[in-house]
Structure formats: C-alpha cells, structure tokens
C-alpha cells in the first residue's frame, strides 16, 4: 500500500530519462524539433522550379492598383525611376522574349541595366517582392498582392497581356517568355566545389616577373583636377601623425602648405574632423527620429529625393506645427507633385516632435 506508489514513481522517472536519451545525439539538450507552424512561418523562399511557391493568383489590373499606392513612390509609375533605386523595367524587346537573351546587354554603350534585363528566373521576382518589398514595410503584402504586382511588372515589360492573371498554375509558362532566361552562366572558376560541374582554370595567368617586366608604364587614367575635393577634404581623413599626412584638397594641388603639417610645430595642428556634441543634441535627436521612421528614405535634409527636402518644407510652413503633424501622419499628394506620400504608421508623439522641428525651420 505504501510501497507501490514509490515504485511507480521510480519507474516513471526511468521512462522519462530513457525517452530523453533516445532523442539526444552528441550534444544532449541542445536544440528542439521545429513545429510545422514555425517552419511555415519562416520557410518563404521560392526556387526557380517553383518549390515553395504558395498557391494563389493576382491580376495585372489589381497589380497596377497596388503598384500606384505602395511601389510607385520609389520605382516610378512605370518602373522607370532612377531617383531612389535603379530602374526596374525597360531595355527588353519582343525579340528578346523569343530568344531568351537581352540583346542590349551585349552593347557596351547601353547606359544601364534594368532588373527585367538581368533577371532570368521569374521565381526570383516573386520571391524578391514577397520577402523584401515594399522597401520600408517588407513582408506586408498578401500572396494575391505579390502575384498581382509581379504580373503588373511583367505586363510593363510586354511579357504578359493587360488582362493577364498570374497564378501558381501558369507561372511556369511565363518563365518560358522571360527575356533574359538564357542569359546566365556558371562556367567560371569562382564557385568553391564541383556542384556546377565546371572546374575550369582561373581567368588570368599572371606570372612573377622581377626585372624589365613592362616596356614603359604610361598613365592611362587619373582623377581630373575638378574632382579633387569631391570626397571631402582628404587631410581630415588621415591620421594626424604618421609617415604621411592627408592632402589638403581644399587647396589646388601643389599648394600644400608643408609647414602647417610638420608634426613638431605645436603652433599648427593638422586638421581634425569635428563632430559637434554641443547644444545641437535636441536636433540630433530629431534627426535620429527621422531615420527611425524612415522619413529620410524619401526626404533629404536639404534636397528632394522622392518628396521635398525637409528644409524646403520648413521654409514653406513656419510655425504651422498642427498642420505639419497631421500631414506627417496622413500623407497626401498634389502640394509638391503628383507622387503621393502614403499615410505613415508613426506615433502621435514622434509626429509632433518632427512637426515642431520643421515649424522651427528644421535646424541642424
């Protein structure tokens, strides 16, 4: 009566430890099995053979709506924008869709490369939009929206017609019309391993030569004088002691005042890049807020990127704290141009601080 439960308890303990031992390997107690729910939440990648592609569909027409509200700010109405990112659409032809090679890629004089000129696999476009777009709110599109936007881009590039509905059922057919589908090669020696089956020699075979190696070195390219200070004063980008100093690029070349950089004359010290840490800290906090809320993705401090520069806004609305706070949250279009600013998910408090700062002239 008394003993029996004790034995049962012992037995139970043995069974538990046995089970645990059977599941462990070299490192007992480390890691656990992932649940199906967890794997589904994270395993979002889509391969070129469409493994991982969720079932669904989206129309070109719906894609246009999504594009104009969530994509056009950065990529332009027709995917042509070069303001924030490289253009997405352009440079491909109906002939490319037939051959699967984008002819413009062979032209050394062609000015740029759009995404649609480069991408070989339509799965990549789908996966890119699904995992990383919109840039400031990645992974917020529905599966239908991802199909729709992908379809809209393919339509802009003339790959699918206006009334097309892209789906998991027809995407393999679309792949056969990708303009650069035959444009990739793995025939190089820069992949470690033999998975691509092409262990070839390196591209170049330079040799070690020690004397009279090249006939006569000639200068083929150098930075023009007008670009001298384009990267800022280089004297402020080198250590103030050492075997060399940075060139003072605020002066023309050859006018370097050597005496001012001589290490042992205490009267003159080589320039030190300065960071202000004084009473401007409030303004710095606002600048950090702007960055945190991704305002600066579209608004430069002084210059227009997609939306107007912040100092331009400040000039237009001095003292108008309440108006600015509302606009920051609500967005709008038509005041500075046609491209709309979407409504922002920003706290009331942050919006107020930024509005105050703008109304005070956006001081730095």
């Amino acid at each position: 009566m008394f003993k029996f439960p004790k034995i049962a308890l012992l037995l139970a303990l043995c069974l538990t430890s046995l089970t645990a031992f059977a599941q462990s390997t070299k490192y007992p107690g480390i890691g656990r099995d992932a649940t199906a729910k967890e794997v589904t939440a994270w395993d979002i990648d889509v391969r070129p053979d469409f493994k991982g592609l969720p079932a669904g569909s989206g129309s070109v027409a719906k894609g246009q709506d999504v594009w104009e509200t969530k994509c056009a700010q950065c990529h332009g109405i027709f995917g042509e924008s070069n303001e924030v990112f490289s253009p997405l659409i352009g440079g491909t032809t109906a002939a490319d869709i037939k051959t699967g090679r984008v002819a413009n890629l062979t032209r050394a004089d062609y000015p740029g490369r759009t995404t649609i000129m480069k991408v070989a696999s339509v799965s990549t476009l789908w996966d890119y939009i699904n995992r990383a777009m919109p840039w400031t709110n990645p992974k917020t599109l529905t599966t239908e929206e991802v199909y729709a936007v992908t379809g809209f881009m393919l339509n802009l590039a003339g790959i699918v017609p206006d009334d097309f509905v892209l789906s998991n059922k027809n995407i393999a057919e679309v792949q056969k019309r990708m303009p650069n589908r035959n444009g990739m090669t793995t025939a190089h020696a820069m992949w470690p391993g033999k998975e691509f089956g092409n262990a070839v020699k390196p591209d170049t075979q330079n040799v070690i030569c020690m004397t009279n190696c090249v006939t006569e070195p000639k200068l083929a390219s150098f930075l023009p004088d007008f670009a001298r200070n384009a990267h800022g004063n280089l004297s402020e980008q080198n250590r103030i002691v050492g075997q060399q100093k940075g060139a003072d690029t605020t002066r023309p070349e050859g006018n370097t005042d050597k005496s001012s950089a001589t290490p042992n004359t205490s009267a003159t010290t080589p320039p030190l890049a300065t960071k202000s840490t004084d009473s401007k800290s409030d303004n710095k906090a606002v600048l950090a807020l702007l960055s945190k809320n991704v305002c600066t993705a579209c608004h430069g401090i002084d210059k227009k990127i997609v939306g107007p520069g912040l100092t331009e806004i400040a000039k237009k609305y001095p003292g108008k704290v309440d108006y600015l706070a509302v606009k920051i949250k609500a967005g709008g279009s038509g005041v500075w141009g046609a491209i709309p600013m979407p409504a922002q998910d920003i706290s009331e408090a942050d919006a107020k601080i930024i509005a105050n700062w703008l109304a005070n002239g956006a001081p730095k």
Partner: protein
C-alpha cells in the same frame, strides 16, 4: 549615423557620376599627351634611383631632416613640460567602454558621395589608409546594408534548420553558445570592392577604392555541427540556402564544400566581443573566402536543398556581366588581391628619405605565399616582407623599405597565393571580363607619388 544622415542631404556628386562622356575623352587625351611625357621623363630618373635604392640605405645622403632643431636650441615640446606631465590624470572606469583618442577622429568609415541615394541601401568604407596589422577595429568595419541595420534582442533571436533534414530544428542563442566553438581570423570583402575603378580611375583614396574590406577574429560554431544535429542529408543536399531575419531577409546559396570542410561558421563573436549590430548581431554566417554578401547577417534560417536557389542577391544583384552579354551567376570566390595602403591616394609625403611601404594581401583560396612591390609602375619589382600571422583566407600585412628620392614614382603591389595564382594586371583582367562586370575586380592597384609629395590614384597601361 546621424552625421551620415546630415551628409545625405547635401552630397557632392562623386566623380564617377559627373564625368560626362566628353570629360572622359578629355581625361584620356590628357593622359595620352601631356602627362605621358612628364611621366616618361620622370621615369628615366626614377628607375635608376630605385635600382640604386638598396645601396642608398647606408649612403649618407643629404636628405632634409624631418625634425630639425628649432632656433631656440630645443623643441618646446621637450623644453616646456606639458599639463599631462605636471598634473593629475583621469580615474579608472571614466569610460565604461573605452573609446579611441580624440586625436583619432579622422578615422571614420565613410560613404562615397553620390554612390547611393539612401543610407539604408548603402555602403560605408573602412579607412584602410590608417590601419595597422590585419585586424579591423570592429567600429571601423565596413558596412553594407540592403534595408538598414537593426540591434536585435539576442534573447528573442532564433535559428532554424529545415529542408532535406531528418528533423527541422530550432535553436536559441543560449543553445548555440553552449556548443563547442572555434575562433578564426578571416577577411570579408564585398564582391563590389574596387568596382568603381573597373573602367577608369573614379575615386581618390584607398578607403574608397578598397575599403569594402575588413578582417576580424570570428567566434562561432561550425555549421556542419548544427546540420548533423538536424540529420541533414549531405549526400543529396548539395546546396544550402542561408536567410537573414531582417527586412531584406538576405538569401544566398552557400557552397556545400565549404560547409562539409568545417570552414563555414555560425558566428556570434567578433574580435573578442559579440558581433556589432551593423555586422549582424547576434548571429551571422561566416563563409571564408567568398564575397561578403554570402556572410548572411541576422541569420535566422538555413535550408538544405538539391538545387541552387537563384535568390534576389544572386539572380538580379551580385551577378557579373561579361563582354558576351551573359551574366556569371554564383561567382563567389574573392581571388588573390593586394593593395598598398601607404603611400596611397590622397596622402602627402612631406620629405624625401626613408619610408616603410606597407599594405594588405589576401586570397579567398588560402594563404598568401608572397607579395612583390614595384615603385616604377611595374617594370621592376622587389619582394616584400610578409609579417606574421599569415593565415588562410585572412588579411596578411606586408612591408618594404623604400627611400624616396623626391622623383615621381608609381607604387604597385602584386600578391601570389598558395595555389600559385598571381594577382592580374588590369589589362589581363579586362581582356577576359571587360569593364562592366562591377564585381570581382582584383587587379593590381597603382599609386602615383608626385614630386610635390602628393599621391594620386592612377591606372597605367
């Protein structure tokens, strides 16, 4: 970051952007005419001096003394005792986490003006011109973000393994840090390092030409250990996808051969402390010898599969355009490369006399075997001293004694790795890859030391 933000509003366009085609022609024309004669004349003198260079080390040449005795009979820095010799200094733990001297504030990682339109999809370059040895201070490590950086709570970070495995697994940071760890020095270089100089010279200093390069001691667990815990099918699973947990969710196909060899690490440590947030805190992949984009930051998941993945950053970006119009895909290895960091572009040599030419060499295929240095534009070479340690797929530091006679000199370095591969000249590289590849420019770099002491980024033919 705030300073960058300030700058982003009023950038001066980089030269690569404001060079019109006409300007480019002018530059080339000048290069061919005016400057060529200047250089040719200079070399007549410079090369004889270099040949005699070794002898000149002991010769009592009449070089200007760089630290002359002042007229008052002594250096005031010696004669007048400064405050720090006559007062009381600061106490312990004034700074709970110490910072560099205030006199070192010129050493900053910097953006190349006009290179990118935003700071969140951008790059900052490490100040190689002022660094010593092979380790990059963590705060100066170059940055490349595709959708901004985050400071992630490590107690909430999880790592998952799925795909062709017996059991999909999840791990906490606590669990990963309980496993046997290794610490190894490796370089990380962006595939686009030196990209702006593919066609012609575009930026002034080594920070901007080669600064997407850093080297750290990384601590972590070999990925193979974790794959074995999950029972990965290493026979049929020939590829591995690594995925980040941030907004961009960087995905890259990782070579299985580097995983089975034990080289690929799931790393949390960098130079004795945790990874910096800008470099993937709390967990990143370390894939020695391959371009930085494969070293996925904020690592949340790996998937074992039987096919490559053609992810966004290996099917749209990070593909190398060849003259044929084909793009090379899955070009991952950073081939053998080197650069002289002193003297280098934008620096000024103040006097003639002795200098220590110093620089960095590295190879994605193993150890550096030797480095040669030329001071006459590649005509004659001398073997440099390789300093210890010389480690596989890490930066190696080289040094060479040099006496500058005040004449123009073109400084180059040429590295060879343990596979016997020799770093190529620009012409050799362009003959195969053209000038539009963007990625994987490992050509020999040239720096022109002018008579006025100012050093310039140049290319020779």
């Amino acid at each position: 970051m705030i300073d960058q933000l300030n700058d982003s509003g009023r950038v001066i366009k980089a030269p690569e952007n404001f060079l019109t085609p006409t300007d480019v022609k002018t530059v080339f024309a000048e290069g061919k005419q005016g400057r060529r004669d200047f250089i040719r004349r200079a070399f007549a003198a410079a090369s004889t001096a270099t040949v005699a260079g070794a002898a000149a080390v002991s010769a009592p040449a009449a070089w200007a003394q760089s630290n002359p005795i002042p007229s008052e009979g002594g250096d005031p820095n010696i004669l007048n005792l400064p405050e720090h010799a006559t007062g009381l200094g600061q106490g312990v733990a004034t700074e709970g986490y110490g910072k560099p001297s205030k006199f070192e504030s010129n050493l900053q990682r910097r953006q190349s003006p006009g290179l990118t339109q935003t700071t969140q999809a951008s790059v900052s370059f490490a100040p190689l011109q002022s660094l010593f040895g092979i380790v990059t201070p963590s705060g100066l490590h170059f940055e490349r973000h595709h959708q901004g950086w985050w400071d992630i709570d490590p107690s909430k970070h999880r790592f998952m393994i799925n795909g062709m495995v017996k059991k999909a697994k999840v791990f906490t940071m606590d669990e990963i840090m309980r496993l046997p760890s290794v610490s190894r020095f490796h370089f990380i270089e962006c595939g686009a390092n030196t990209a702006v100089d593919w066609g012609n010279v575009a930026v002034p200093t080594v920070q901007y030409t080669h600064g997407m390069l850093s080297c750290s001691e990384f601590t972590g667990v070999p990925l193979i250990t974790l794959l074995e815990l999950a029972g990965a099918d290493l026979k049929n699973g020939k590829f591995l996808l690594a995925e980040g947990g941030d907004g961009s969710s960087m995905t890259r196909t990782i070579p299985m051969s580097l995983i089975t060899s034990g080289e690929v690490l799931v790393a949390y440590g960098q130079n004795g402390e945790m990874l910096r947030p800008e470099n993937g805190y709390p967990l990143r992949l370390v894939v020695p010898g391959t371009q930085g984009v494969s070293w996925v930051k904020y690592l949340r998941r790996v998937e074992v599969g039987d096919q490559p993945y053609a992810a966004k950053d290996e099917a749209i970006h990070y593909i190398d355009l060849q003259p044929s119009g084909l793009h090379r895909q899955y070009a991952s290895i950073q081939e053998c490369k080197s650069v002289v960091t002193t003297p280098s572009g934008g620096q000024v040599l103040l006097d003639k006399g002795f200098y220590n030419i110093t620089g960095l060499a590295w190879s994605g295929k193993g150890k550096i075997k030797r480095v040669d240095v030329s001071t006459d534009g590649g005509r004659n070479w001398r073997q440099a001293r390789l300093e210890t340690p010389v480690l596989s797929k890490a930066l190696s530091r080289f040094n060479l004694d040099w006496i500058w006679n005040g004449k123009p000199a073109i400084i180059q370095s040429r590295a060879q790795d343990e596979t016997a591969y020799v770093q190529p000249m620009y012409k050799q590289l362009r003959d195969v890859r053209g000038t539009r590849s963007i990625y994987h420019n490992n050509a020999i770099q040239s720096w022109l030391v002018q008579e006025n002491g100012e050093v310039k980024n140049v290319q020779v033919s």
